[in-house]
């Protein structure tokens, strides 16, 4: 069974204080790893897809990286508007290409 573990569950940062969120995964065959942002009362918003170890993607203050066992979401000089829950999901390469989500990391950036 595919598993996704995110850490920490909650993170509080001062504005400008860079940090990383971790997503560890177990999957028989990885088709893709996704990062989403979710604001309270809203559906998840797509950020990145990573397909193979060594791949990196960037968007504004966010950078996602992938190894064979985990992914990191690096946040550089965060701002209060980056406060949200960040969800990691893996899609397996089996017949159903099932997507499994982690429980998320709740990030709070304090001015």
């Amino acid at each position: 069974e595919d598993q996704v573990t995110q850490s920490p569950e909650a993170l509080r940062l001062q504005e400008g204080e860079s940090s990383s969120l971790n997503c560890s995964y177990t999957v028989s065959g990885l088709r893709g790893l996704f990062w989403y942002r979710q604001d309270p009362g809203k559906g998840p918003e797509f950020l990145f897809t990573l397909y193979s170890a060594g791949e990196e993607k960037e968007k504004e203050r966010l950078k996602a990286t992938l190894t064979k066992k985990e992914s990191f979401l690096h946040i550089t000089a965060p701002k209060p508007e980056d406060s949200a829950t960040y969800l990691c999901a893996v899609q397996d390469s089996g017949g159903y290409q099932k997507v499994t989500f982690g429980i998320g990391t709740k990030l709070q950036v304090i001015p």
Partner: protein, 117 residues
């Protein structure tokens, strides 16, 4: 481009009552997903449709939950009868599906928050 639409946004019912949720995916998206998200947890897949057909419903509690996707577009998810533990946000998502890459990216609607009393 219009996003995934869901209604209602909020619903409060008594236990043992029935409830239905509606989803309209992004135009042209062949694959539609229903997820259940309990407070403090990540989304859990309930059912996945590819056009009209069900691809995966292994985590759908079939004794009380049902879903259909008529004409490969809109979908409804029904709960009958509801239990207290069904209180959650029900999210609908859609994707292009197929050969991988950006086609697999799922785009989510705003969700329906269900409270069962």
């Amino acid at each position: 481009e219009a996003g995934v639409a869901q209604s209602p946004r909020y619903k409060i019912i008594e236990k043992r009552q029935s409830v239905a949720f509606w989803c309209n995916p992004i135009s042209g998206h062949a694959t539609l997903y229903w997820y259940q998200q309990i407070l403090g947890q990540g989304p859990k897949l309930l059912i996945q449709f590819q056009n009209n057909g069900v691809v995966d419903d292994s985590q759908l509690p079939k004794d009380r939950f049902s879903a259909e996707r008529l004409k490969g577009v809109d979908s409804t998810l029904k709960i009958q009868p509801a239990k207290l533990e069904d209180s959650a946000v029900y999210l609908c998502a859609s994707s292009l599906w197929g050969s991988g890459g950006a086609r697999d990216t799922q785009y989510f609607g705003p969700g329906t928050r269900l409270t069962v009393l």
